[in-house]
Symmetry: C2
Subunit: 206 residues, 2 copies
DNA sequence: CAAAACTAATCAATCGTTTGATTGGTTGAA
DNA sequence: TTCAACCAATCAAACGATTGATTAGTTTTG
């Protein structure tokens, strides 16, 4: 499929396989076969199977918080920040579902402490950022006083649910989230729904 | 911990271990040890490792839809049905987090087709029931016209998010979802938030 | 006694990892 | 320029450990 070096093709194959079969369900022999590389290349480049895993996750986690923090520090109202965050979060997760699946699974397993800790800290930072934006909006009188943590759970939970649930079940009878152009339609639908929902909930009714 | 027969203790141990370590991450030797049973007892009672798995899931799935359908056919308004569904769904998931973890993981893996199909059908039924309630409310003029599938994703996603995310991260700085009495507090908090949110969103503003 | 419940021992298969050898290309001194 | 030294990249083969499963035999129970 691609003419890149072995190292890259191992990473690409591993991410796909980990996503489809889980970490324990994926053997390094299968990774090697799918990446068209000798299985010893995995130890050679990444030290171990877990090394591949950590490499994939580290690459993805980097920059995940960056966008959030960038939005948080923009000179706009809390309401507009929330709209941007919903859009950014939705697009980022729906365009990297394989990674999101792996991350979510790892979060509920807590088998590999080094990775779990890394993921948790990243999520904690994200949480904090969104929390402060909402609190900022409440202080400014833009938002009603609500259960901030639960509002965040609704935002993250809704996006995660659309991303992780087989597309045949949830989004639409026709749309398939694995096809890029149809995924864009789903993204827009999720963004529109969440923006409407959250703003309506947070904004005091006049 | 319990003085039940081996069969039951195998099921109990397996559910806990599958939840914590995943299916592939749990060996039948470990199940046997934790259940204080010889590993061959697993084949003896359930035929295979997968047999244990299917048994656990089947037991739990049975009756999951029953409550939903019961609510759906009660002679109350669509609004009240939604309130009941949010409460029932939240309590059921938060009181069986181990099962929910397993189910969710299985849904994103699709490794065991027999099980995936069973889970998908159960979810599809649940979806349909809630969908009809919302549509019923819209027809009756109780609800605004909204994106029904997305509303359902928000309900299920929020509950799932609270259930699956390590409690240290999400619900509250002090509460731990694994302790029964504190779990009740979290349940009430989720129920209150979701009921407020969804009703405010669905009910036309006067 | 006969059926059910249980056990220890063992099976082939697969796991992640390591090894030693080989390749093709680059470097450095003569 | 030439040849030895060195390098990262790659490979097939094998390692010991663990996997799910099965056997044949023993204990318990009604």
């Amino acid at each position: 499929m691609e003419k890149q070096d072995k190292r890259s093709s191992i990473l690409a194959a591993a991410e796909r396989l980990f996503s489809e079969l889980g970490y324990e369900g994926t053997s390094i022999r299968l990774i090697g076969k799918e990446a068209d590389a000798n299985l010893s290349m995995i130890s050679y480049y990444f030290g171990s199977k877990e090394g591949v895993f950590l490499e994939i996750m580290s690459e993805r986690i980097k920059g995940f918080n960056a966008e959030l923090i960038r939005i948080a520090t923009e000179p706009v109202t809390a309401k507009e920040k929330m709209l941007l965050i919903i859009e950014g979060y939705t697009r980022r997760i729906l365009s990297g579902i394989a990674f999101h699946k792996i991350m979510h699974r790892e979060l509920t397993l807590e088998q590999r402490p080094e990775l779990s800790t890394k993921i948790k800290e990243a999520i904690k930072t994200n949480l904090r950022v969104i929390e402060e934006i909402i609190e900022e909006g409440i202080t400014a009188g833009e938002f009603r006083k609500t259960d901030t943590r639960m509002v965040i759970s609704t935002i993250m939970g809704t996006i995660s649910h659309v991303a992780l649930t087989p597309s045949k079940l949830i989004p639409c009878s026709v749309l398939d989230i694995s096809k890029p152009d149809e995924r864009e339609l789903i993204s827009q639908r999720v963004i529109k729904h969440l923006q409407e929902l959250i703003i309506m909930y947070l904004t005091p009714q006049q």
